[in-house]
Symmetry: C2
Subunit: 124 residues, 2 copies
DNA sequence: CAAACCTTGACACAGTCGTGGTAAGGTTTG
DNA sequence: CAAACCTTACCACGACTGTGTCAAGGTTTG
């Protein structure tokens, strides 16, 4: 029997058995099965389970995020569609120079100040 | 005034003004602002808003998914981290040949059948 | 065969997502 | 200045996430 059962894997990885099944359903880590259907986690899966925990906490990701990244890797069509949409234009469009953007906040501030002093002086 | 205000953009894109603000907060489409802070949507943004709708429905994605894809594009460190985790091992490890995997269900089925007939014949 | 595992499926529950609405307050323009 | 916009911030609410627990039933092994 070369492989840990789900509860053994749970102990060495820190993931609850419930979460191990959940992770599998998300398509992230699917251990092989014994002839009777028991999950058998090998050294490789155990390592990946540990690094998965780090990946999530260090970059503030959800399991769904990683699952989506996997979809992007597996499905070229999806990857290209998303990629082309993203590249179609940056979130701050090219025709809006950074200077304008940065100036926005400042102008707003100035206007508010101007308005304020106006109202202080020209009390209608 | 070259640009539609949020409600005008809402009418031509189908997104509610509420969602346009939400989409902006997700980092997907940030229109430039008038000096007083009004959002001004240009032709490019309007087009992207329409294609965004298609992207989501055709590939069954969420706004969060696209936002995450954007993070992957913008943050090389994140991209590499996720990528290396994914490449570390396929969800169906190499040491589990497809044939084994496929055979699993069948064997399970056979075992169940065998068990059933056993119990029918050797009634304890 | 009984104890101690494993499996899938279902109920539960707090938290976040996607959406709408409302409130309090600037902006624009007749 | 009043109507009709816009802004941000908050409450609401169903649906999905992440997680636990329990139930009904197979597997393994002393």
């Amino acid at each position: 029997m070369d492989g840990l059962t789900i509860n053994e894997a749970s102990e060495t990885t820190g993931w609850s058995s419930r979460m191990l099944r959940y992770i599998e359903r998300e398509g992230l880590i699917a251990p092989r099965r014994s002839p009777s259907g028991y999950r058998l986690y090998g050294a490789e899966e155990l390592q990946r389970l540990r690094t998965l925990r780090e990946l999530l906490s260090e970059h503030d990701l959800s399991l769904g995020d990683v699952g989506f990244a996997r979809r992007l890797n597996d499905d070229r069509g999806l990857h290209d569609a998303v990629e082309s949409w993203l590249e179609a234009a940056p979130s701050r469009p090219a025709d809006v120079p950074v200077s304008d953007w940065l100036r926005f906040e400042q102008e707003k501030h100035e206007r508010l100040l101007a308005k304020a002093s106006e109202q202080l002086t020209t009390t209608t």
